[in-house]
């Protein structure tokens, strides 16, 4: 009963998002459009971690490793080929392969929870250090200089597929980025409804039980991790397309932590949450810098602290629960399961955990 409602709501939301993406360029000025283009590319990054963490149970402190690798792969390839089409492909492929290698190392080594976090963190720090020390002339790939701390300026932005002379306008870039965000959201939704998606959630829920049923948790986690890496890499390409620039600070610890913050604020275990959290925080950070009264760190820090204490579940789940409660009140009838609430509820059930067998 609730399942069709949920599905309808999701479809309506996606349609609405499509309309917004389509119409936005006619209502806001170029600057805001470019700003939203940036936010959308960051939201893709947020989705990648939101997926592997919320639905695969993998907390990666180093999602920026894939983001940065994607960005650098794109930049190097785009400079060398002059065409963004294969560069985008490489920006997805290389981080995915890297995720495959790293994931094999980690998951098949039976490393879990905090230790996984530490390994991903150190890998990111290694990449940061390595890319940071590429300032010398020796670090040139084809015609692309990696440029060390200063990074690579003036990277070619997206062009029409296989038509390098036809470079996308900011409006077109917006359509591509916004469209990509929606497509990835829908893709992940579909994936989560597929048998594989449900197995992934099962592994996240209870790894031991999944193994005792004959599922190989290592393989499932590895696949989830690789998908997350590929999406993060793609986000990297979108990011470079926005700023025409990539530098090693993309691997910085602060960005890694920021992604985690987006997800915590938006709501872990949902797909909309990371997107919402990302938009909110990015907007906030950019607004803070335009005022001169108070130190920016102070404001951001205070907001985060207050948030954790007051809204620990994150925005989206809190609002959803609130709406559900309202709906129940309005309908004047209490639903099954209310009595069971309050004790031993491990998880309210993430949005993706729809009952199976519906099809």
């Amino acid at each position: 009963m609730t399942e069709p409602v949920k599905l309808t709501l999701q479809c309506v939301a996606v349609l609405f998002a499509c309309v917004v993406v389509g119409l936005l360029p006619f209502y806001i000025d170029l600057f805001e459009l470019m700003q939203y283009t940036l936010f959308c590319s960051m939201a893709v990054l947020a989705l990648s971690l939101g997926f592997i963490w919320g639905f695969g149970g993998i907390l990666s402190f180093g999602q920026t490793a894939f983001f940065g690798l994607g960005a650098y792969s794109y930049a190097v390839a785009a400079i060398n080929f002059g065409d963004s089409t294969p560069a985008i492909g490489l920006a997805i492929l290389i981080p995915a392969l890297f995720a495959l290698a790293l994931g094999y190392f980690v998951f098949y080594g039976q490393i879990s929870d905090v230790y996984l976090g530490v390994i991903t963190l150190t890998v990111t720090l290694i990449l940061f250090n390595v890319f940071n020390s590429t300032a010398g002339d020796a670090y040139t790939i084809g015609s692309a200089r990696l440029g060390g701390f200063n990074g690579m300026p003036a990277v070619p932005t997206f062009n029409m597929p296989f038509d390098p002379s036809n470079i996308l306008f900011p409006e077109q870039s917006w359509y591509v980025t916004g469209g990509a965000l929606i497509a990835i959201y829908v893709g992940l939704r579909l994936l989560l409804r597929s048998p594989f998606g449900r197995v992934a959630i099962a592994v996240k829920e209870n790894e031991t039980r999944a193994a005792l049923l004959g599922y190989d948790p290592r393989l499932v986690k590895l696949l989830v991790f690789v998908i997350g890496g590929a999406i993060a890499g793609f986000a990297g390409a979108l990011y470079v397309n926005w700023g025409a620039f990539v530098g090693p600070t993309i691997f910085a610890l602060s960005l890694s932590a920021e992604i985690i913050i987006w997800i915590c604020i938006g709501g872990l275990g949902t797909l909309v949450g990371p997107i919402v959290g990302c938009f909110l925080i990015e907007y906030l950070v950019s607004q803070i810098g335009t005022q001169q009264a108070v130190n920016s760190n102070l404001v951001l820090g205070a907001i985060l602290v207050v948030f954790v204490v007051l809204l620990p579940k994150g925005l989206v789940p809190t609002i959803r629960d609130g709406l559900l409660a309202l709906g129940r009140l309005g309908a004047g009838r209490s639903r099954r399961g209310d009595a069971a609430r309050g004790h031993e509820i491990v998880d309210e059930g993430p949005a993706g955990a729809q009952p199976a067998g519906a099809e």
Partner: protein, 246 residues
Amino acid sequence: MAEILPLLQTSHLTMRFGGVVANDDVNFTLEEMELRCLIGPNGAGKSTFFKMLTGQLTPSEGTIRFRENPIAGNLPHQIARLGIGIKTQIPNVFNGLSVRENVWLAARRAARRDASAKRAAEIVDEVLQRIVLTDLADAVVGQLSHGQRQWVEIGTVLAAEPELILLDEPAAGMTDEETVRTAEIIAEINKTRALIVVEHDMEFIRMIAKKVTVFHQGRIMMEDTVEAVLADSRVRDVYLGKKVAA
């Protein structure tokens, strides 16, 4: 060839944790289609034994043979795929998923062996009826009572259609009525499959058991029919002594 091999055979199976010996030189044999009960006080090594059989622990020494396959030290999912299913002592289910999804996840692996996707849905419906949770099929398992989750776990074990089913205290926390139904289901399963059941409830054991193995301090103390075991004074001492101490 296959017919003369027992279904499950362990030899010299030993598990040590640091200085503690949880299982010591366990030689255990289970025939095809057999139903065996394991009893023994807490800490006798029954759960450790189950964990080694299912691959959650790698034995320090000794071998486990499931039909012709040596499985000691294999990973849990590999052993599960060979056809050993387990219901663990504490309900071990997917709390965030619905009842139907829990069962479906198990059925899907079974169905995969049969190479038929439709079969999975059929198995789910059958099993849901069998564990009498059809009405709660879409409820999130985490919100169910302890007993109901117990049933969900039994359901997942059934749906996976394993060759050998390990049940660790299946009747714990169940009402008398449910206990009877559990016994019935076990008898029914046993028509086609082998089971090993760990249980403390002697009434329950009487209901289902043919042959009983008694664990004590990590070793097999005796192995005989229900009547013989329950009549044995050593078994009484072990149990009663333990109970008084607890």
